[in-house]
């Protein structure tokens, strides 16, 4: 009997990469894609790295593929925007050994800033698109993606979504098939994409698309599941599973390779059914392909464009009904908050007190935009914390800019923060930046980065020093603060505000959830409130820290022994000395 395991979609992609004989894997962490590389890193046969950003990840893996090793790169949907430049050109050059690009989209935006449907990238860059619908398919289809990549000399776009990446289902495991390093032959006309070569390669791309379209009609990734002729459903990815729940008797065209669209297979399917509905999440990607062919199908007429799908959304959309269910009952609002002892608490508490304008970036610290601080003004994308702050300065002048701070995390600074900082210096800005250095890529679950001194495989490496980079960018005023020293931090912030030149404050304290920090916390006493002194609801001074361990109980401040980590932020902010 084959070995079975309960695997998330991301674990299954990692397993598929191992079974496919992959030699090189790269990624930058980003929910929901992170666990792919984390799991690949556990296989000793595969080189795995956390790259500085997605563009770097893409190019390293692509270089390895051109040089002959099966390679994979994975990223979240917005990460592919960062890697879009090489993506488009890789379509023209083609590859040598198999090269698969995994994009993990986030319908419903559980942990993302937009809901872009990266299937559009496949059509835009003229690449084959693979869409698995559960963990077993994620593993099996990934192996197939490597065959397609080598068969057609093309990168393959492999699209996961949050519900695939983070759902677990049963997977039958296979063995690793070693893929030998392919011969590398220097090929100027293929890999040096000068205009004269690119013009020729464009014809190659168009020819390849035609062949891929024929292939998509014969591949086992696309199949017709015969049911009743009354209703035909065209679907792909996780949407297939939802449709199956709601319409168990329909006939299905289930697409595992949804681009190029399998025209002849669809024609065959359309003759088998009376009515066709396309069920797909977000964009009408498949629906448009069918309508271009001149067929009349329905899709977005019933299925919403926004937010993720679910069985009830499909049922309500198509049938206009719901299963009978109890009325919803209002519960209490429970937004995510900074952890007890989080270093960011100290910075945002001070920024809130200073009533500063803050241009934010992507990381845990985005929570600084929520109560009790509400101190972040903008959050756009990786790196924009620095550049948006400079934009504020240009629009509103240097006087206003005194109270503008750009905040960015350590991993994020290394990802895309550096060019922005150079831009400020070069263009004579006076922008003030705070780098929140918590010694790890925290929000995605503690991945190492070039500043931590450890690789994705856990091996020691040379740690890049953020301060040295900041100085090398031309910043002369560089400060270091401990964000848990509230007064000291505030003094530096005030000093920096008055400077007539750009400055960087490096706020240094490790994430409170790191194992070494937890050890330190376990040795510290838990903090206690003296209820006789505490003014409780009349004061709320400590509550405004936003520490999850602090609440109001019977009119007085109360510190949960279970959650308190023994830092002294609450002692520092209590005006009456009621906490010890």
């Amino acid at each position: 009997m084959p070995v079975r395991d309960l695997m998330s979609g991301n674990e299954a992609v990692a397993r598929g990469a191992w079974e496919a004989g992959v030699k090189v894997a790269t990624a930058y962490p980003g929910t929901p894609s992170t666990e792919i590389l984390e799991n690949i890193a556990k296989y000793k046969e595969i080189y795995a790295e956390w790259s500085t950003n997605e563009k770097v990840a893409f190019e390293v893996a692509m270089g390895a593929a051109i040089a002959g090793a099966r390679s994979i790169t994975s990223m979240k949907h917005v990460g592919l925007n960062v890697a879009a430049d090489p993506l488009f050109t890789s379509s023209y050059t083609g590859i040598n050994a198999g090269f698969v690009v995994v994009t993990c989209d986030d319908p419903g935006m559980h942990s993302s800033q937009n809901e872009q449907d990266n299937r559009r990238y496949a059509k835009f860059a003229k690449l084959p698109l693979i869409e698995p619908s559960d963990s077993q398919e994620a593993k099996d289809f990934l192996k197939e993606a490597f065959s397609i990549s080598e068969m057609f000399d093309t990168p393959v776009l492999f699209r996961m979504t949050t519900r695939l990446s983070h759902s677990k289902s049963v997977v039958e495991l296979g063995d690793r098939e070693e893929a030998e390093i392919k011969e590398y032959v220097k090929n100027f006309k293929k890999y040096v994409i000068l205009p004269a070569n690119a013009r020729v390669r464009h014809y190659v791309v168009e020819e390849r698309l035609k062949k891929l379209q024929e292939f998509s009609c014969s591949t086992k990734l696309n199949r017709i599941e015969k049911g009743s002729h009354a209703l035909g459903i065209v679907t792909s990815g996780i949407s297939y599973q939802y449709a199956r729940e709601v319409f168990p008797d329909a006939t299905y065209l289930k697409l595992g390779m949804s681009y190029p669209f399998p025209v002849d297979l669809f024609k065959k399917f359309s003759e088998m059914v009376d009515r066709i509905i396309v069920i797909e999440e977000n964009e009408p990607f498949i629906e448009e392909e069918i309508k271009i062919l001149g067929f009349s199908v329905e899709g977005k007429k019933y299925i919403p464009l926004c937010d993720e799908l679910s069985p009830e959304v499909v049922r309500k959309g198509v049938l206009g009904e719901e299963l009978p269910h109890p009325e919803p009952i209002k519960s209490v609002m429970r937004p995510p908050v900074f952890c007890a002892g989080c270093p960011h608490t100290g910075i945002f508490y001070n920024l809130w007190r200073l009533k500063a304008t803050v241009t934010g970036d992507i990381g845990c610290y985005t929570l600084g935009a929520l109560p009790p601080y509400e101190s972040i003004d903008t959050t756009i994308c990786m790196g924009a914390g620095i550049t948006n702050a400079f934009g504020f300065e240009l629009a509103r002048g240097k006087e206003f800019s005194k109270k503008v701070f750009g905040v960015i995390g350590d991993s994020t600074f290394l990802h895309t923060g550096i060019p922005g900082l150079i831009d400020v210096v070069y263009n004579k800005g006076v922008t003030k930046i705070i780098i929140l250095d918590n010694r790890i890529t925290a929000m995605t679950g503690h991945q190492d980065h070039p500043g931590t001194g450890k690789t994705a495989k856990g091996e020691p490496t040379r740690a890049i020093k953020i301060e040295e980079i900041v100085r090398a960018c031309g910043i002369q005023k560089v400060y270091e603060v401990d964000p848990h020293d509230l007064r000291g931090t505030r003094e530096v912030l005030k000093e920096v505000m008055e400077l007539d030149e750009p400055a960087v404050i490096i706020s240094k304290r490790p994430c409170a959830l790191l194992p070494e920090e937890r050890k330190i916390q376990s040795l510290r006493p838990k903090r206690k409130v003296n209820a006789d002194i505490c003014r409780g609801e009349k004061c709320l001074g400590c509550v405004k820290l936003g520490c999850p361990a602090i609440s109001i109980k019977d009119g007085k401040a109360f510190i949960s022994e279970l959650l308190c980590v023994g830092c002294d932020l609450c002692i520092q902010v209590c005006p009456f000395g009621a906490i010890s």
Binding site: H110, S167, Y242, S310, P311, E312, P326, S331
Partner: protein, 196 residues
């Protein structure tokens, strides 16, 4: 088991919800069933609401439980049970609730109020069996307060068609070696709680 059984496990980030849903899915898989479970990682882990959907049966398609089809809610925190009540099926559903209130910052800041008498609210609105389990106390009795999630799985196990042996096997294989005994005791205390 002929049809798919739908379970929702809810609570607050850090309570061990994902571990519990993992154990439940593995028990189903060990018993020869298909199993799928779904949850979201990332922002929601930072002290926010966490929910895991688990579906078990001969053949499972969707990893998400459909609104109106949930057989059982297992909630690690009182107010988090309320949040998913409308997922229950209309009749014959069951709600198992840990007797624990975790007050969010929105309440301390007076932006919201913590709901009172949750048991009666549920009984008043839903035709469901409500069981309150003092999981923290039982976990302390088991020797480790961190085994509250295993206590709750024990309470849940009474309503699922899996043998005590298969639960014990999966728990023993899945938790840290030094906590196996405490977890097995916790499971038993939860399983026996209803009977006393």
């Amino acid at each position: 088991m002929e049809r798919v059984l739908n379970v929702i496990i809810s609570g607050v980030g850090g309570q061990g919800i994902l571990t519990a849903s993992e154990l439940l899915s593995k028990v189903a898989m060990e018993s020869g069933l298909d199993a799928k479970k779904s949850e979201v990682h990332g922002m929601s882990q930072r002290g926010g609401s966490v929910v895991s959907h688990v579906r078990l049966g001969p053949k499972v398609y969707s990893p998400l439980v459909e609104k109106g089809s949930c057989d059982l809610i297992l909630s690690f925190e009182k107010s988090e049970a309320l949040r998913w009540i409308h997922y229950l099926k209309k009749d014959g559903a069951r709600v198992i609730i840990n007797d624990l209130e975790i007050v969010p910052i929105t309440v301390s800041m007076k932006l919201d109020v913590y709901p009172q008498d949750i048991e009666s609210i549920i009984r008043g609105k839903v035709n469901a069996d409500v069981i309150i389990v003092p999981a923290t106390d039982l976990a302390k009795k088991a020797g480790d307060p961190r085994t509250a999630n295993t206590v709750l799985l024990g309470a849940l196990s009474n309503y699922l068609p899996f043998s005590e042996d298969s639960w014990q096997k999966v728990i023993s294989e899945s938790v840290k070696k030094e906590t196996v005994d405490a977890n097995l005791r916790a499971f038993k205390l939860g399983r026996d709680y209803k009977k006393t």
